[in-house]
Point group: C2
Chain length 319, copies 2
Amino acid sequence: MAVYTEVSDDALAAFLAEYDIGAMVAFRGIAEGVENSNFSLRTTTGDFILTLYEKRVDPTELPWFLGLMEHLAAHGLTCPRPVHARDGDALRQLCGRHAAITTFLPGVWPRRVRAEHCGPLGAALAALHQAGAGYAPTRRNALGPHGWQPLLDRARDRADEVQPGLAAELDAALAHILATWPATLPMGHIHADLFPDNVFFLDGRVSGLIDFYFAATDLLAYDVAICLNAWCFEPDFAFNVTKARLLLSAYQRVRPLSDAERAALPVLCQGAAIRFLLTRLYDWLNTPPGALVTRKDPLEYLRRLRFHLSARDEHAYGL
Amino acid sequence: MAVYTEVSDDALAAFLAEYDIGAMVAFRGIAEGVENSNFSLRTTTGDFILTLYEKRVDPTELPWFLGLMEHLAAHGLTCPRPVHARDGDALRQLCGRHAAITTFLPGVWPRRVRAEHCGPLGAALAALHQAGAGYAPTRRNALGPHGWQPLLDRARDRADEVQPGLAAELDAALAHILATWPATLPMGHIHADLFPDNVFFLDGRVSGLIDFYFAATDLLAYDVAICLNAWCFEPDFAFNVTKARLLLSAYQRVRPLSDAERAALPVLCQGAAIRFLLTRLYDWLNTPPGALVTRKDPLEYLRRLRFHLSARDEHAYGL
């Protein structure tokens, strides 16, 4: 739930006057997203999203994110398309924040993932990977494998507060993951955070992918592994191989995985699990106990990590 | 910022199937309102608001609120109109909560009140009071004068934590207010919470009044006093008599205040100030220090209260 910055009506009117998108009709804060302030904006010409970038986003990276979204939209992916103001710039300033208007996407994100979602999701992920191919600028994935050891180092001393033995278990798992991490798989631009709340569906089809602010240039199959973690576990943390098979088959109908990518799935999934485990662990240890913000339980990803560590090969994922 | 209950897509689809408003196109949580969960809902036939009533709302009172909104809308006030399902009922169940769909209103609420807002606001308030006249059921105002002594009693012991001497100052002020409170002014249905975030403007006109969940049957002029508190003080707590004059003149062009109502304005404003002071004080003392929810400063209303206590008569408000 995210509106961190209030936008005065005067400031908004002045901001909109820089665009050719008509006059304001309605303006409401959106209770979704955790990093930025998002507003739904209706004008006389249509519906848009106004995003104010808050302090967790590095402003020097915003042109890369907006450029990627624009490139993806121009290459057929349904994602928010940055709207340019009259002077040509899409990235602007509002209320002391960097700000951008993007197009509105219809649809609803699935609060409960069903098997029917996983095929369309897989196909959309592959389409994203293909559409991104021609976007030349790159962005290093700060939350990729290089980032995991420092994250663990910052949380190790207090990890056992969350569960006795957790520090030692994570040390062993991370050492294994980093030692077996594949170096030479196909690279590209990945979404890196394609959880259900970032995927809209309408009439059983994907109607849009949103929130590209963790996107980076990394192993494409690692993005698949993130989705396997985010979409294919049941609420009791049982891995649902049917969902995984649907996701992977649909992905491969658009972009077949190489033998090396398939063989790497277990370690890629281990890496994805430890990445979300570590950021959640850090947030868990650094969120004040009385705070009303929802702390996401890091141990949910320990359950996933253990599953992936037990996976003998890609057949564990239905391949 | 308010989405307390997540609505699964299955549950939402089943819920919508009970209505004749078309198929879902988009669904987003709204980061406004503090008592209930609100979602903006687009269907193939238009835009709506879905509200799930959370635990601070007494479910036995919901039919009164929805009936009032329906009555007001039918009598020309632009406010959310409850949408009836096929079986005729507007008040339903969703995800274990009472829930209702209402019509969507365009417009933007003023983050910064300007003098130009105050005339249209006054006229809209008077229109609300007139439109409500034919709605027979009544609702006692739990946060009216009867409620203030119990509220102060619950906060008195710790009031001086907020400011030394506050308990004694409030005791004296409340005794004065209750002793001089008018008993025989015109009654009717009042909004009782018509702050700027509950009033939408579009092109300089009021495009809608929302959030009727504090509405009650009480002195009409008390609603005017609430608006004088909510709209006519500057950020430095100076009373802006120009705004007050605009508000009152526009109100009186629709519904003239009686001599007795005008004469009672100072004590009505004192009462309105202490009402918001007391609920804020209670929330302030009972919100955990680390909580990320915004605690509204009760002392802002002490500043207002002192102004109203110093008002010799209605001329202080520009009359």
